[in-house]
Amino acid sequence: MRATDNQGSFLNRISIRRNQVVSMDGNHEQELEDIELFQKHVSDRFSDLLSPSDDTSADALLSISWLRKLLDVFLCCEAEFKAIMIMGRDASLISKPPLDRLFHELLDRNVKTLDVCNAVHHGVDAVRHFQKLAEIVVSALEQRPIGEGQVRRAKRALNSLITAMALEDKDGTGNKSTERAWSFGRRGGSGAVNKDRNPGQFRAISWNMAKGWSASKQIQAMSSNLVAPRGGETLALPVYISSTVMVFVMWALVAAIPCQERSGLASHYSVPRQLSWAQPMVGLQEKIAEEWKKKEKKGCSGLLEEIQKMEKLVQSLSEFAESFQFPAEPERLEEVANQVAELAETCKRMEEGLFPLQQQLREVFHRVVRSRAEILEALEQGGKSSTPIM
């Protein structure tokens, strides 16, 4: 676990330094240095994400492994933020204006982050469902000689996959989500019979969020009150940086993974351009937003690299299946074989990556819960006394 190692050693450094300094008055310089370092680290980490040093395609922008790195980065930044702002700090400072307001906004963002984590967690379930359907396609089309039965099998799965992806995309117009869950084999009986041949049979894909919950509204709410501090408000800066990182990470996750209600996602959020530490983030944000805008018109179930790849392959395999006549033309077969192999490779990456991604999302979830409690504690403490917590 890269993240934990990093942050462990970092925290040690900070806290040791704190303990030495804490007794001295006027550690302003130390503080400035910490904040400077924080900015640098944030900038460095996002630079890595923008242009990974080792150029392997597995780490392509918005791929599963990229998202995992992104979450690592989030955890690191979060830990560093806490080290600077909470540990060893005079709690009374943060509970006074203007910091207290900033912290309360941060707490609110924390809560929304938790919901986004859960929604994305559900979204990963949906992606796993795509994967399973794709596995059917692979196993059907891998067979040689390829016959009508297998092609029909593949076609069924492909149709389900296309429907599922489209549903995930449109999903979350509020009531839609429940409709979806129920539309599969309603208890009425007759409905189920009629639907038997319908490709929409695999509809209930994953657990949903609460009715009316909207990922894009949450992101909007998280970012709407995010204002860069003016010069002089030294301590406001880390809060701002940390919030920006938080919002960006959540935004990117929502863009990548199917999530309840994401309309207008790209326009809801942008990283301020003028700040030097935010430059790599700006770069990423522009890239992702551009992708999003491109896809939003056509409809897509997420910018996750693997999903996009799957979508393309599904499209083309679906054409093949539609026009299939036995016996297949050998040239076409070769092409299909390649695509099937690619699809299998994509499935494999999902198989390997999705579960760890979900675990990491839980880790982020619990970490944010923890931080929220610590910040609350500090605020409460600060309200009562001026003694440092540690």
Partner: protein, 721 residues
Amino acid sequence: MEKEAPEKSASFVCREEQPNISDTTDTPPPEPTAKADDKTDDKNGDEEKEEDDEKEKKEVEDKTEENKENNNEDEDQTLPDEADEDPLTALQKLSEDIDRFVVSSQEPNAKTNGQIDDNENDDHVSPEVPEFVDKFLELIEEMVEKHDSGEGKVKWNKLSEEGSSSFLEAVDRISKLNNKLLEMKLEGETHGLLINRVGSIHHRAMVYLEEEFRWLLMEESKTDIHDSDPGGDNNNNQKGKPEQHDSCPMPGSESAKDEAADFPGYTNDVVSKLHKIAKEMILGGYEWECLEVYMNARRIAFEDSLQRIGCEKHSIDDVHKIQWDALERDIGSWITALKQCSTVLFSCERKLAEAVFSDYPSISTDIFSCLIRGIVIEFLNFCEGVSMSKCSAEKLFKTLDMYETLRDMVPKMDALFPEDCASELKKDATLTRSRLGEAAISLFCDLENSIKSDTGKTPVAGGAVHPLSRYTMNYLKYACEYKDTLEQVFREHSKIERADSTSRPHGHDYEVEATSMNQNNDSDKQSPFSVQLMRVMDLLDANLEVKSKLYKDVALSSIFMMNNGRYIVQKIKGSTEIHEVMGDTWCRRRSSELRQYHKNYQRETWSKLLGCLSHEGLNVHGKVPKPVLKERFKSFNAMFEEIHKTQSTWVVSDEQLQSELRVSISAVVIPAYRSFLGRFSQVLDPGRQTEKYIKFQPDDLETYIDELFDGNPMSMARRRQ
């Protein structure tokens, strides 16, 4: 499926050892044909490679193979004769042939391990695939068609036992035939067509099975146990009810259903059907489809039952905004659901998965884990939401309910869930449990703030019990019904920081205090919770002390302190749990404080009055100075009337305390008055003078004293009229 591998290889070995045992079937021994030999030889080259592809072939084969092995050669002859008879018999015959054919490929493996060149036979049109395969396909196609044709579609549960098993057998054969043909790697157009045909029939049969599988799963599931079984024990699995781990009564009352109903809403019969279909689908290579259908059906069923219990999903953000009573209701539902899950639903669900996929333990484990992981995480998220929602002291009890439910569930996870899944979810659940514990602590400690912030400046009329005392004590009484849990919560989830927090005095403060109270033996044992409880009591005392100063009348403030003190002690004695925590010593200390207030009151109010009755100054050279005596009577009367007027408006609602007070007053005042009267009454002139100065007879005093502390403004003048 992995599990099958060893068995299968074992069967291969077996086959190799007994390649040509003499025939045991009824079919007359055939004359081996050249064709058959060709085919047999033809196969060996591919044998090894294809072992993997053949995983689906299971014991079914193994059982029958001895019979079949040597008969593959005779099919061509037997078939034409009998096919014309009755389609069923024909199918039976053909099936046997197919079985032999499907197994036949294994033989060359033993006989001629790869010594003959395969390619040699490429040009033959159909040396390898016997003619009967076509005939067989016709029959099967017809059969599938019959089952699966738009309008007249045959529902699985309408099929007789025989009907369904013969269909499944047919499907099994077609699956094997399909595999067999594929592994033969035949070439040429005719073969292609044949393979295509088999594949199509196979697919159609599989789709039919899939649909029936889904149908059985969705439609044969009656409403779930918990809400359709009003008489059953599972209905209210609340505290105190014996929990049933092992059986899940069925909704219906048919005895057939009752016997060993372990499955969530399915009869054993349906489960066995599901099992057979699942097995066939997996053997036929349609594992993914089968699992998808199963997974979705069960998830919907689960969501369904949660919904029926009344669990509503809330985002954590919403939990913050939602009205408390709505949230309280939802918490109740989630607790019910969680309890039902951990006692009944999960184990039933697991049994179902194990029964349906009994041939594939790893599949049943995976699918069950996958299903419950989603549900448990959903629960945990809700708990997290609740534990971080805004503080209000009333939330404590629901939070503790949730805490208990989760606490009791975690240890059960090991037994309920597959290992990996259990350890992962336990980790998660333990974190959430701590959050709930911490929330409970902070809610409980919030009582301190409620007490501290109660700074009203209006004294309670008549020195009665203050609402703050009532609130605090009722709250504590209720909280102490959760005493054991609170003890645990404080022990396990108190943050270390708290130990040096300046806002909360700690153990040692109490110890100092305790020592000074001669309580050192108790102080060692004090649990963090009792320390906190003591702290709350002390805060309440301090607050009441301040409030008592709001009364200008010192006597009234004593009455106020007595009233509240008495109330508190009574409450504590009335609740075993708080009494245990506070201990006898504390109660004794309290009671002696009360006596002190009593004394203060007595002194404050009555000693002045008694001063009037003092004999002092009434004996001047052996004579009683009349004017002084008159003055004494006058002031006694006035003072008593005044006391009566004020103090009958005062309130002592505790009857015992009220009567104690009256008795003690009477005991002091009446004898003194009686003796005063006895000694001095004759000094006054009888008649007008006596009437004027002696307004009260001792008995009157008693009556008036009995009117004190009733909370009624009752002037003596009015009474006398």
